[in-house]
């Protein structure tokens, strides 16, 4: 079976403003099977968002192969959903029209797109806020709009960049459970970027640890916890803390390296 996402020997370089070259990713290999929920963890600045940009086709790779659904990525990949790290909902559209944007861009009539959008809005718990503009919402509510906006397209590939990091603990657990049940119905292949190792293990079938920049996959860990899961209960399981200990051992070195490096470059 062809994997849903396949990155082979991918390197990504950026031109820095001073004219130098910065290598964000080096020789990165990452494979996501169809229907798999993968989490990506790593220290800040290691290239997690860059990896998602490469998969989505927003940025081309400098070297290596990027394949999505068996085809090499040229330009924006189809059937892809992307919840961005920073706010990307359209400020001039109401909640309803933000969520209805995807179906409309795919040629569905506005009235039909809106009625589908209403369903998704209630699924992410925003019923009653359809006519608000984004500036009238809280940060967490805007994230939910972004989530509904992506999911309504029923993407086969879903990229999520720290979607819940702005939420409080309770709302976050709620949204995580909600995401798992939505995902269980669609069986999309998910790449979920997070800083939070607990979140990664609770949600994913597989956790990729990316090394401090230039980023490369240091290790990947299968998470053999049973589904359906409840993210609050699963943390109590002994197997959970065992997996956590294993991955944290790997991750902590990278976090330390990255921290030391930033401290030094900050001091320089």
């Amino acid at each position: 079976m062809t994997p849903a996402i396949d990155l082979r020997g991918v390197t990504k370089r950026f031109l820095t403003p001073s004219g130098g070259v910065y290598t964000a990713l080096r020789d990165l290999n990452l494979t996501v099977q169809a229907g798999e929920f993968c989490a990506v963890v790593g220290p800040t600045g290691c290239g997690k968002s860059t990896t998602l940009a490469l998969i989505s086709g927003l940025e081309p790779a400098s070297e290596g192969e990027v394949e999505v659904l068996g085809k090499p990525v040229r330009g924006i990949a189809e059937q892809i959903g992307y919840v961005f790290q920073t706010d990307a909902v359209f400020p001039w559209k109401t909640v309803l029209d933000n969520v209805a944007a995807g179906p409309r861009y795919h040629g569905r009539p506005t009235s039909e797109a809106r009625s589908t959008a209403r369903e998704w809005i209630s699924r992410v718990g925003l019923s009653g806020f359809e006519d608000r503009y984004p500036y009238q919402l809280s940060g967490g509510m805007r994230k939910r709009v972004a989530l509904a906006q992506s999911l309504i397209n029923e993407p086969r590939i879903l990229l999520m960049d720290e979607p819940f990091s702005a939420l409080d603990v309770q709302t976050r657990s709620l949204m995580e459970n909600e995401l798992l049940s939505l995902w269980a119905n669609t069986r999309a292949s998910v790449v979920f970027v997070t800083h939070d190792l607990e979140e990664a293990i609770a949600l994913a079938d597989r956790v990729f640890v990316i090394s401090a920049g230039p980023g490369t996959v240091k290790a990947n860990y299968p998470v053999p916890l049973t589904r359906p899961r409840n993210v609050t209960e699963i943390r109590m399981q002994p197997q959970f803390s065992q997996i956590y200990g294993e991955i944290w051992n790997d991750l902590k070195d990278e976090v330390l390296v990255s921290y030391e490096r930033q401290k030094r470059s900050g001091a320089a």
């Binding site: 989505s56 706010d87 990307a88 359209f90 400020p91 944007a101 861009y105 992506s150």
Partner: protein, 300 residues
């Protein structure tokens, strides 16, 4: 000591219970809205005061003779002139005809200039090659004083409405163009990326992301450009016309009628204010999605 404490406690609890029953929210809102209305009334009062002071001292100085009313006019004379124009007629015919003619030239020029400015601004903002090729010419064209083009239009388009519309349009075009161009360039990359991921093609990207995002810039330019359209129309009339408020001003000037010049200016100002109110209403409709300016919200 304990008695004092008790008393203090009593003192503290006593007043709390009274305002402790909260005023109904609607009352609170009504109160704030009343306060705001009072502020608005105050502002109108102060505006009238400024007008009274300026006009009063103008009238006074010209009456005493410190200032020569032959050159500088006189408020009462201007009012009289306006009254004559309204009740009888102007040297060029009924007053409303002059106003209508100038308004028509201005509005047409404003629309033509705005449409061209937005279309070409968005086009060049979206297309790197076009922008690089044409930017030098547009900057050069912007540097010349464009009102002189009015003379050219009078020759090439004749003395009818077209030359005035063209002069007004060219003045409006550049302001709107530069704002639209800049607005397109400032669109957040994130929003473009999101729209493309969601499936927007190039046309949708332009109509659904680029233009709405640039709209704040474009609308800001409309406030200035209506005034410029008015200038264009009046200058166009200068180069040859039979009707219009501009023409009315020139004929007053030929007769050394300073009050007539001022009365004409007053008409132009009234037209500009009217348009300003219209554009502000348009702005409020089109950019409803923007948070209100700091301090203009009603806090409850």
């Amino acid at each position: 000591m304990s008695a004092r404490n008790a008393a203090a406690r009593l003192d503290v609890t006593a007043p709390i219970s009274a305002p402790g029953t909260p005023a109904p929210i609607t009352d609170l809102a009504a109160q704030r809205i009343r306060a705001r209305r009072r502020r608005e009334l105050n502002i109108y009062g102060l505006r009238v005061l400024v007008a009274v002071i300026v006009l009063g001292s103008w009238e006074l100085t010209t009456r005493i003779g410190i200032v020569d009313q032959f050159f500088f006019g006189q408020p009462s004379g201007i009012a009289k002139q306006l009254w004559i124009w309204i009740t009888e007629e102007t040297a060029l015919g009924p007053l409303w005809e002059q106003v209508l003619v100038t308004m028509e030239e201005t509005v047409l020029g404003f629309i033509v200039g705005t449409v061209l400015g937005v279309v070409i601004g968005v086009l060049l903002g979206r297309n790197r090659l076009l922008a690089d090729v044409f930017s030098i010419y547009i900057k050069a064209a912007n540097a010349i004083p464009r009102v002189v083009l009015g003379a050219l239009f009078a020759i090439s388009l004749g003395l009818d409405i077209r030359s005035k519309v063209a002069t007004a349009a060219i003045l409006v075009f550049f302001v709107v163009f530069f704002n639209a161009f800049q607005g397109v360039r400032e669109v957040e990359r994130n929003l473009i990326a999101n729209a493309r991921i969601l499936g927007a093609d190039d046309r949708r990207l332009t109509t659904e992301v680029i233009v709405p995002s640039a709209l704040s810039w474009i609308i800001a330019s409309l406030h200035i450009s209506f005034g410029l359209a008015l200038v264009g129309a009046v200058v166009g009339e200068l180069f040859g016309a039979t009707q219009g408020v501009g023409e009315l001003i020139y004929s007053a000037e030929h007769n050394f009628n300073a009050n007539g010049v001022f009365a004409g200016m007053l008409l132009l100002a009234a037209m500009a204010l009217l348009a300003e109110a219209f554009i502000t209403a348009l702005e409020n409709r089109l950019v409803r999605w923007r948070p209100p300016a700091v301090g203009s919200e009603i806090q409850i």
